[in-house]
């Protein structure tokens, strides 16, 4: 009897194991596929991190990143950065540009997704979505060239209209007060369609029965948005918001470098553009590395804090 039970148990274990093995075997392609992003992150994202060591060295061109001959400098470059009279301005601009972008463009993407969802004609909805998506695929250089030609004080479209209406030409590209509106506005134009994709996908996943039930109760479309759609996509909104907060110290420097001039440094110069100028234009590679390291540390701290806060407040979080 005992032997029989043992045999039975052994059989069951063998079956379980072979099933597990078969399952693993059937999943091998997926595991291998996972290797691609894993290899990408390990080799492209993590492996070069050892180069951050130069933030603590007096690094010079031609030096290896870490060797017995490395000239270690402790926190010298961090102190140099903190003592730079422009440092408060760099931090202020970095935060201002990112926070304004989040405050303005993030709700616009959500609103756009909600409005897109309300278009009844499917073809019109698809057409609108596709048109709004197109600017995302235009390169930054071209976007900035468009900004320059549209807002040029000499022959820009906007100034031509202002002049036709009897107004005085505005030097949008040289006056510092116009930099942020142009930067953020063009960002909204370029990215709203793309950013809305995630929210559109989340909206399409909402159970239609909820809307049907609400309709039976006499709910209007506006009420549906506030009481069904938004609550249902709230976890997605929170995750997207957290991801944005996690990059709050990182501004895409390419667009700023293409757009700013010395006249607009006051509001446009950010940590990443300064790191670019310091590193590549003036060979202060250690200082550039120190700036990047600070950026990343602050980003991680902000991300962890925001994640904790949202978990406590809404129950949604990244982890």
């Amino acid at each position: 009897m005992k032997k029989n039970a043992k045999t039975q148990k052994g059989k069951a274990t063998r079956m379980r194991n072979s099933k597990r093995l078969a399952k693993i075997r059937s999943q091998i392609p997926y595991w291998v596929m996972l290797l691609i992003p894993l290899a990408f992150f390990l080799l492209v994202r993590y492996w070069p991190m050892y180069g951050l060591a130069i933030a603590f060295q007096d690094y010079k061109i031609g030096d290896p990143f870490i060797s017995s001959e490395s000239r270690w400098a402790g926190f010298k470059w961090f102190q140099t950065l903190f003592r730079n009279p422009n440092f408060p301005r760099l931090v202020r601009n970095t935060l201002a540009i990112n926070i304004l972008s989040i405050l303005i463009s993030f709700p616009i993407s959500i609103a756009f997704a909600l409005l897109l969802n309300e278009i009844r004609f499917k073809k019109l909805r698809n057409l609108t979505a596709n048109i709004s998506l197109l600017p995302y695929f235009i390169s930054t250089v071209v976007i900035v060239a468009i900004i320059y030609s549209v807002f040029s004080v000499d022959d820009g479209l906007v100034n031509m209209v202002i002049q036709k209406l009897g107004g005085k030409k505005i030097n949008f590209l040289a006056e510092s007060k116009w930099f942020r509106p142009l930067y953020i506005g063009s960002g909204i134009w370029q990215n709203t369609g793309f950013n809305a994709v995630v929210f559109t996908a989340a909206i399409s996943g909402i159970d239609p029965n909820l809307y049907e039930a609400a309709a039976l109760d006499g709910s209007t479309r506006l009420k549906n948005i506030f009481h069904i759609t938004i609550p249902c996509i709230l976890p997605t909104i929170i995750i997207m918001l957290l991801l944005r907060i996690g990059n709050i110290m990182t501004v895409g420097y390419e667009k700023i470098i293409l757009m700013y001039t010395p006249s607009t440094y006051e509001v446009a110069d950010v940590l990443s553009t300064y790191a670019y100028r310091a590193g590549l234009e003036n060979q202060k590679y250690s200082l550039s590395a120190a700036i990047s390291l600070i950026n990343s540390v602050v980003n991680v701290v902000l991300l962890v804090s925001a994640n904790k806060a949202t978990k406590k407040l809404s129950g949604s979080s990244l982890w």
Partner: protein
């Protein structure tokens, strides 16, 4: 089967990704150690130029540098002339160089506008350098690379390897070698461009507009203002029915300074730093002088009156050329050599290219400086170095020496393509051939086009230009030489003379200081800031950005090198 195929595909993709990434990643610890070892090594003794027992090839080909064809790789920026038709482009010259020296060059060419950034990135990346490397416009790059063992120290072999350069440059400036020699007696790069440079940034006047209004080339700041006002009041000078005339423009504010600054006593030596040394040997920053203040205030007046291009802070060279082409510009501050091409770009110039449509102006005077003064570019530029990884640095050096100052090469660079633009007479003097009927030679006076490698201004070039359609340019230059004083300033050395610590100090402060100056300068001109009310705050900001530390640094360099 499908799964197997998918598996194989995924495996192949993974492997290729890993391979690509591994190739792109930084060097391994082992390779780093090797780099360190390599750096520790003495710069290898130059292998002698190959000398075979049979030296008949030297008699047959006096210009050959080696018996067997040798290849070097060269990293440089692209030449503007590459899009010109022969003989204005320089392709024939490089072909001639290969035949003449028996050295083949494999080029790696980068855009001129980004070159400083690209060379800095290339040096920092740890990748093997090309044999011969143009070092960009920032002299610190050269010095840093040299001090880190990436470039060959040319000093020990100077007289042997660079005999042509030594002879040629010494005729121009006896201090030449002292200026390119560093404080530790090293020389890491050889300049291809030497003083005195006859081509300078100056005011160019639209001749048609001036004639239409009966105006003469102004000589004082007040007269210049009157010319600008007359153009502004005349309205539709280009006759296109639009209010699109731009009275006075330049590529950037910085391009205004050499033509306008001298009138205000601002010494505008072309430099990464705005420092000068007075006759008493005291180095001072130009950024905060009273003269600079007066000039910026004056420019603000022009801006407010609509006489200065509203896009002066955002212009580029291409945008200015576009404005000129569209017949919209009255006065432009630009290199004098552009007078010809700018004139030919206008609609009148295209219809009749033989005439002068932009006249080279005169240096202005004012109450701040009553002596007509032209900016003198008594500096050196277009430095090229030889990588310490180059297998035959002597041959590479000799090739550079030929390129820059070999008498035969100079003739070809100055006179164009043998048999096409000129021929040698019985005494081996170049005799120019007439241009095809109805056409004019248009060799760029900056060289064979813009030779992307180091080049120099030569009298031969001027003579050639004089023989053809740019004679007016030469005449103007000659007249200027006679009539006008050049700055009697003793410049701070551009490359040589800086110790490693001083280079570090420059690297630390230079970019911030210049950015600070540019920011305030633009705001003073556009009226966002007031030169009277905000000047002290401006001076304080620049001090905080390191102006005083740099002044002390330059003073000590100056004291040591003069």
């Amino acid at each position: 089967m499908k799964k197997l195929t998918a598996l194989l595909l995924v495996l192949a993709m993974s492997l290729s990704l890993v391979a690509c990434s591994a190739g792109a990643t930084a060097p391994t610890a082992a390779s780093e150690e090797k780099v360190v070892e390599e750096k520790k090594e003495e710069v290898k003794e130059a292998a002698p130029v190959e000398e075979a027992a049979d030296e008949s090839w030297k008699e047959e080909h006096p210009g050959w540098l080696c018996k067997d064809k040798t290849t070097f790789t060269v990293y440089t920026w692209e030449g503007e002339s590459s899009s010109y038709l022969p003989p204005s482009n320089d392709l024939f010259f490089w072909k001639w160089m290969e035949d003449y020296t028996n050295v083949h060059i494999e080029w790696e060419v980068a855009p001129y506008a980004d070159f400083d950034t690209l060379i800095a990135a290339k040096l920092a990346s740890g990748e093997k350098l090309n044999d011969i490397v143009m070092m960009g416009k920032q002299q610190q790059t050269t010095l840093s690379a040299g001090q880190n063992g990436m470039l060959v120290d040319l000093a020990p072999h100077w007289n042997d390897w660079f005999s042509n350069v030594e002879t040629y440059f010494n005729n121009i400036d006896v201090n030449f070698k002292g200026i390119i020699t560093n404080s530790d007696n090293t020389i890491y790069a050889v300049p291809g461009f030497a003083a005195p440079q006859q081509n300078r940034i100056i005011l160019l006047f639209n001749t048609l507009w001036m004639d239409k209004l009966g105006l003469k080339i102004p000589e004082t700041v007040e007269e210049f203002e009157a010319v600008l006002r007359a153009m502004k009041e005349a309205g539709d000078l280009n006759g296109n029915g639009l209010d699109d005339e731009i009275i006075f423009t330049a590529t950037d504010v910085e391009w205004l300074l050499p033509s306008i600054g001298t009138a205000f006593g601002v010494e505008t030596i072309e430099s990464a730093d705005f420092y000068a040394a007075g006759a008493d040997g005291v180095v001072y920053p130009e950024y905060t002088t009273e003269n600079m203040k007066a000039m910026l205030g004056w420019l603000n007046g022009l801006y407010e009156e609509g006489l200065l291009d509203p896009e002066i802070t955002t212009n580029t060279m291409d945008i200015v050329a576009e404005k000129v082409t569209a017949d919209r510009v009255g006065v432009v501050s630009m290199y004098s050599s552009f007078a010809g091409s700018y004139g030919n770009l206008t609609s009148a110039g295209q219809a009749d290219p033989g005439k002068e449509y932009y006249s080279i102006g005169k240096p202005l005077t004012s109450k701040w400086n009553s002596t007509p003064t032209m900016t003198m570019y008594n500096n050196y530029s277009r430095y090229a170095g030889i990588a310490s990884t180059c297998e035959n640095p002597e041959l590479a050096a000799r090739w550079l020496d030929t390129l820059i100052a070999d008498p035969e090469a100079l003739i070809i660079r100055a006179c164009g393509e043998p048999g096409n633009t000129f021929e040698f007479d019985a005494n081996h003097n170049p005799v120019y051939k007439p241009a095809p009927e109805g056409q004019a030679w248009s060799i760029n006076p900056l060289g064979c086009g813009q030779i992307p490698m180091p080049h120099i201004q030569t009298d031969l070039q001027l003579n050639f230009s004089k023989s053809y359609d740019q004679a007016w340019y030469v005449d103007s230059y000659t007249a200027n030489q006679v009539e006008y004083a050049t700055w009697k300033m003793a410049s701070v050395p551009k490359l040589g003379g800086y110790s490693e610590e001083e280079t570090e100090l420059r690297n630390l402060y230079q970019a911030d200081l210049k950015a600070g100056w540019q920011e305030y300068r633009n705001k003073f001109i556009t009226g966002e800031l007031d030169t009277e009310a905000d000047w002290d705050a401006y001076a304080k900001t620049l001090s905080a950005l390191g102006m005083d530390e740099l002044t002390r640094c330059y003073q000590s360099v100056y004291n040591r090198t003069h």
